[in-house]
């Protein structure tokens, strides 16, 4: 293992920002894994730290394939993490909306450029992703449909679901999208939590990435048996939105099979405690996202169901 600083940025008032990468193996660039790009992505950083642990063991046992190099970048934006902010602390811009970056541009464009120059040229790229709303996901893998990456490759993660997302205009400046434009087969792995650590989900994500690497001939790793991944388009998933506002209680769990009409959650009045809404599933399927916060506004996505 080689620990290397991939990009540095001087701060007027803090220690220099050093984006650190861990390299394993030698030779062709096989896989890059990126963790937290936002200050609240603690779970994403934790998953990468556990990947570093596993890869150290595999390297010690000579289980990394010849002519394969793996790069793990646990955290790009720890400046924000250390002060409890989500986006870049100075100007609140999102590094994951600055790719491919620009070395003569603004600060977060320069960070994106510096990191992206280290992430280019890999055959595969995995980003540990998060969602903008508070909630928990069933661990799954997602890819953006740019026409470059074969969706069937998602099966090699052995997660229950692989979801294909049609890129929207605002996706075109993300790492995942630009990786594909620069011919890296790119995937996002969702490991349940964001701003808290879920050890079980993190272990599942680490196993999924190890399984992927094993299936792709990058490492030889023993992992628990995975799922036969169902590949589907994001449009085939159902979103359940709250029709009222108030205090939210989930009455289901992620991964649970539910039937049409089943109660998934309830909303009560925040002042008098009266029940104001029962949230029922409009379809039969598996719950793969559940809102996780005591207060809820109307028209908030509170569950996502894979039909």
């Amino acid at each position: 293992m080689k620990k290397k600083i991939l990009f540095s940025l001087r701060s007027p008032y803090r220690e220099q920002l050093d984006v650190v990468g861990f390299r394993f193996g030698h030779g062709r660039k096989a896989l890059a894994v990126v963790g937290a790009m936002r200050g609240n992505e603690v779970q994403q950083m934790y998953v990468c730290s556990q990947m570093v642990q596993e890869l150290k063991k595999l390297e010690a046992r000579d289980r990394i394939a010849e002519d394969c190099e793996i790069l793990v970048v646990p955290c790009v934006n720890y400046y924000s993490m250390n002060i409890g902010k989500r986006f870049w602390a100075m100007d609140n811009t999102d590094i994951n909306r600055m790719f491919p970056g620009y070395d003569q541009g603004e600060t977060t464009q320069r960070i994106a450029d510096g990191v992206f120059s280290s992430l280019q040229g890999y055959e595969y790229g995995i980003q540990l992703a998060s969602f903008y709303q508070p909630g928990i996901f069933l661990p799954h893998v997602k890819m953006m449909d740019t026409g470059f990456t074969d969706p069937a490759i998602m099966k090699d993660f052995g997660l229950e679901f692989g979801i294909i997302r049609k890129p929207r205009p605002y996706d075109t400046t993300t790492l995942n999208y630009n990786w594909q434009i620069w011919e890296t087969k790119a995937f996002s792995v969702y490991a349940n939590a964001t701003d808290e650590i879920d050890e079980r989900a993190a272990e599942e994500a680490v196993n999924a990435i190890l399984r992927f690497m094993d299936n792709r001939g990058i490492v030889k790793a023993k992992t628990p048996p995975g799922y036969i991944t169902a590949i589907l388009n994001e449009s085939e998933t159902g979103q359940v939105r709250s029709d009222h506002a108030g205090i939210f209680f989930s009455r289901t769990e992620i991964g649970k099979r539910v039937g049409r009409g089943d109660v998934l959650g309830i909303i009560t009045d925040p002042f008098d405690g009266e029940l104001v809404s029962e949230i029922r599933s409009p379809v039969s399927g598996t719950v793969y996202f559940a809102y996780h916060s005591p207060l809820i506004n109307a028209k908030t996505v509170c569950f996502k169901i894979i039909k």
Binding site: S11, M90, D91, E106, R110, Y170
Partner: protein, 312 residues
């Protein structure tokens, strides 16, 4: 008449309401929409909305048409000094056109688009953010310029910046409305979290002139200035390479030559100048950094290069 165009219940005893005021007089159906407050830290448009609305109220007989004023597309953002939408950290101007059966923000955006669509002209007023001060200007993409430029020239701005299209900008209010046939001008002026009265007065004269040219204002108008058009001219970007505090020694609107000293980046701890900032090209400074603390990459100034063989 004040109308609520979108209302979404919030968690505790409150609704998010997007409101507009319609001022109407005469038989003419020509409609101008004055829109602002998409970014909660941009306040120049708040004063402009007040100025225009109160003046028209006092001279209602001179109005022959419909003026719709939308002062706060992101009211929670303005209320909490948050650029994006509080709670979500989402830039509202990356969510348009929204969708009627979408999330809270998507629903609000769809309602806004529905309501403004059909206006003869829409003026979408932004300030800069808290970091940069902007000369009053209108921005438009190359494909929209043939349609929008004649209207932009009526608006009494100093500068019209015609820029290349970018896919990411397809999620803006202006792109959505222009795509749907509602001519929408994006104004940028001043600096975030502040009101610059002289700029608001300048734009006030521009709005009245636009209304006059649209045939919906029968009162007097002030002469408007001829804006500098960026067409065929390049923009030079001056970014900091060092970290520290930026102290300019040029002002915006200044014409500078390449290599001119326009400011310093100083380190308060070592008491040293860590970077002498110089103009990257000849031209006019139309953007200048207002917030002093800078990192490597922080934008310090934008300079409009002269036209080939022309003046700055």
């Amino acid at each position: 008449m004040t109308e609520t165009i979108a209302s979404i219940p919030l968690a505790v005893h409150e609704n998010l309401k997007i409101q507009k005021r319609r001022i109407k007089n005469g038989r003419n159906k020509t409609r101008l929409s004055l829109v602002t407050g998409t970014h909660g830290d941009e306040l120049e448009g708040q004063y402009l909305a007040y100025m225009v609305g109160s003046y028209i109220d006092e001279h209602i007989d001179l109005l022959d048409g419909i003026l719709d004023i939308y002062p706060a597309l992101n009211p929670m953002g303005i209320d909490s000094i948050t650029r994006g939408i509080p709670m979500f950290d989402l830039d509202m101007n990356r969510v348009f056109p929204g969708t009627k059966d979408g999330t809270m923000v998507e629903t609000v955006c769809a309602a806004i688009i529905d309501d403004i669509s059909g206006s003869d002209v829409c003026v979408d007023v932004h300030s800069s953010n808290i970091f940069l001060k902007e000369i009053p200007q209108i921005r438009m993409s190359v494909p929209t310029a043939p349609t929008l430029l004649p209207y932009a020239k009526m608006m009494n701005v100093d500068f019209v910046w015609i820029h290349e299209s970018a896919t990411v900008l397809e999620s803006t209010l202006a792109h959505t409305l222009n795509t749907r046939g509602t001519k929408t001008l994006v104004v940028e002026m001043g600096v975030g979290m502040r009101i610059t009265k002289e700029y608001c007065k300048q734009l006030f004269d521009g709005v009245l002139n636009l209304m006059s040219k649209l045939g919906m204002w029968k009162g007097d108008t002030a002469p408007v200035r001829e804006p500098i058009i960026s067409e065929g001219r390049e923009v030079g970007f001056v970014n900091s390479d060092a970290a520290g505090i930026f102290v300019p020694c040029a002002d915006f609107g200044d014409n500078v030559n390449e290599g001119d000293h326009i400011g310093d980046v100083a380190d308060p701890l070592t008491s040293k100048v860590v970077e002498e900032v110089r103009a990257v090209c000849d031209g006019m400074i139309f953007t200048l950094r207002e917030y002093p603390v800078v990192y490597g990459g922080s934008l310090l100034a934008r300079i409009l290069k002269p036209a080939a063989g022309g003046e700055a």
